[in-house]
């Protein structure tokens, strides 16, 4: 029983990670209709930024975490300016290939700069174990869950009440109308990328103490986040979050009870099944984020 509980907690942790990454991806697709293949690299770079701030510079954990978020936020803005702006108006093939190319470039640059050896970044919380009725979990896991909930609540508030957030929602629903009414679509696109990347940075700061950081981590993560976005209904942020949590739990249970080796395949099996059975996603086709 405690074994199952541990798997579930692990699944929730994984799901939180996937959800934070998938939310950013869904946000990008919802607002600017773009599939960003390099999204996993935001997480990877965020992880290295966190590692550098925490392990190399010796900053306290919360500060290092914020550094990671801020660094990725800035990177997201730069990325939007440098790459995305050039491909926003092009066909999805160009967008897919361009972001795929960026992903490969970033991954290999990371190998050249940081090497292929994974970086372990244990913190006090990831080492400290909480024992709840026979279920042993690292405190860090609770932090991940709590932070994820807080972040999503914040995102929800932002999209409903903040001016920029409302603009993002409006653009996701009807871009042409927004341009006509005077919403600065360029600025909204920029902000969307900054926020999405920042979300990935936050995920990295929260989860890196539990898992290690290595250059290839982005690839599988991107794809699993995509699986969540697709299952959740392309561009629907809440759907993506729900789907991501589901995938995380499914993967953890599969790893524990079916086969550890094939756990990575679970996300795609789920995705392909959903695509075939209900192509509009679990929650149906919706307009806007």
């Amino acid at each position: 029983m405690s074994d199952l509980a541990e798997q579930l907690v692990h699944g929730l942790t994984l799901g939180s990670l996937y959800a934070m990454v998938a939310a950013g991806l869904a946000l990008m697709f919802g607002v600017v209709r773009l599939i960003n293949f390099a999204h996993g690299e935001f997480y990877m770079l965020g992880g290295y930024a966190f590692w550098y701030a925490y392990a190399e510079l010796g900053l306290p954990y919360p500060v290092a975490g914020l550094v990671a978020v801020a660094a990725m936020g800035v990177f997201g803005l730069v990325y939007e300016r440098a790459v995305i702006r050039a491909i926003l108006a092009r066909t999805w093939h160009v967008q897919l290939i361009a972001t795929l190319a960026t992903s490969i470039t970033l991954t290999n640059l990371a190998i050249l700069v940081f090497g292929t050896q994974p970086k372990e970044v244990p913190t006090r919380l990831s080492a400290a174990i909480l024992d709840v009725g026979g279920v042993r979990l690292a405190w860090q896991r609770l932090l991940v869950l709590g932070a994820a909930v807080a972040i999503f609540a914040g995102l929800e508030w932002f999209v409903r009440h903040a001016r920029l957030g409302k603009a993002m929602r409006a653009v996701s629903q009807n871009r042409e109308a927004c341009a006509v009414v005077g919403v600065d679509v360029q600025q909204v696109a920029l902000a969307t990328f900054g926020i999405s990347a920042g979300l990935a940075g936050a995920a990295a700061a929260l989860v890196s103490p539990l898992f290690s950081i290595f250059p290839d981590v982005g690839a599988l993560l991107t794809l699993k986040a995509f699986a969540a976005v697709i299952v959740g209904g392309f561009g629907y942020v809440r759907g993506a979050i729900a789907a991501a949590v589901l995938i995380g739990i499914a993967e953890s249970l599969a790893a524990g009870y079916v086969s550890y080796a094939y756990k990575d395949a679970i996300a795609f099996v789920v995705m392909v099944v959903v695509l075939l059975v209900r192509p509009q996603g679990l929650f149906g086709r919706r307009i806007g984020i």
Binding site: I35, V83, A86, I87, A89, R90, T91, W92, H93, V94, L96, I97, A98, L100, A101, T102, S103, I104, T105, L106, T107, N108, L109, I111, L112, A219, L220, L223, F226, A227, I230, F234, S259, A261, Y262, D264, A265, F268, V269, M271, V272, L275, L276, P279
Partner: protein, 319 residues
């Protein structure tokens, strides 16, 4: 006269091992190795261009078909002791069957979903290849794959492999030509350029997409089988997403949808880094940037740049 030039060119290509031995003594092994790889990658790129450039389906499943053909031939040859003449068609056949099975559900998806679905399939294939250690040897790799032997003919020397590669490339190029011209080619292009209108012209988009996908996958499987017979070793690392990126670079670099363009791209992609002796990671950084720049600036690749002078260059992915 064109036939004369063709015969002369073909003769020169066949004579390459001797030409290289004469002009670059001591380098023969290395040059032939590069040429063999170029021929294999060229064939693979052509089979991919068929799907992406001519039918217009942005499939990311190609590495899986390459891998399926490779593993089938490798395992049949090492564990089943099948002769090459049987292992090769088995590889092609399995790849074709899987392409058929996968294609049916995949083509019900549109655009992004299709790309993602094929990518998911490629990932699953890679995960299985890596983890089904009992069957595929996983990261321990399939080793000791025998050199091809067809009757009395044994392909064991570099020149022999070169001719095998050349013959493969010639055959694939011929197939590519045949499939992309005449009525069939026009049907493919109609589906690629305007699927809705193609249907109004009585052309069944699903049938032609499936045809391109299965043939492309089958050829990829064949190249996989030939590849392992040359290299002698097969590891799951051969079927990564990187291969899709490499193929995309090849076809975009040279000119998507054109025989000459794709071959130029494959040659540039394979031969250049050998010449430059780049470290693999730097190589991928350069390729990534190159692909990024090319796909944004000149989606037709080199061919397009050459043809830009004419009034209407071909713009497969233009906005």
């Amino acid at each position: 006269m064109r036939a004369g030039r063709f015969i002369l060119g073909s003769a020169a290509l066949v004579a390459v091992p001797w030409i290289v031995a004469a002009l670059l003594p001591g380098q023969q092994r290395y040059v032939l190795h590069v040429l063999i790889f170029t021929a294999l990658y060229g064939s693979l790129a052509l089979s991919y261009d068929l799907v992406v450039g001519h039918v217009g389906s942005l499939s990311l499943a190609h590495p899986a078909f390459f891998g399926l053909g490779a593993y089938t031939a490798a395992l049949l040859a090492t564990e089943g002791h099948w002769p090459f003449a049987a292992a090769l068609p088995a590889g092609v056949g399995l790849a074709a069957l899987v392409a058929l099975a996968v294609g049916v559900p995949m083509f019900r998806l549109t655009e992004h979903s299709f790309a993602m679905g094929t990518l998911g399939f490629a990932i699953v294939t890679q995960v299985v290849a890596t983890n089904w250690v009992d069957f595929t040897h996983g990261p321990l790799c399939v080793t000791g794959i025998p050199k091809p032997q067809v009757g009395a003919l044994r392909i064991a020397t570099l020149p022999a492999f070169y001719w095998m590669g050349l013959a493969t490339l010639a055959l694939v190029a011929l197939l590519y030509r045949g499939l992309t011209t005449f009525r069939l080619g026009r049907a493919f292009h109609a589906v690629r350029d305007n699927e809705t209108l193609a249907a109004a012209a009585s052309i069944d988009p699903l049938k032609y997409r499936m045809l391109g996908f299965v043939i492309g996958g089958a050829v990829a499987g064949g190249v996989g089988a030939l590849y392992v017979s040359y290299v002698g070793v097969l590891c799951p690392g051969e079927l990564t997403v990187s291969l899709s990126v490499n193929l995309l670079v090849m076809i975009f670099l040279g000119g998507i949808g054109t025989l000459r363009g794709v071959l130029v791209g494959a040659a540039a992609f394979t031969a250049l880094p050998e010449v430059l002796r780049m470290a693999p990671n730097w190589r991928m950084v350069i390729y990534g940037l190159l692909l990024l720049v090319i796909v944004i600036r000149a989606p037709d690749g080199l061919e397009g740049l050459i043809r830009r002078g004419s009034s209407l260059g071909r713009r497969p992915w233009g906005a």
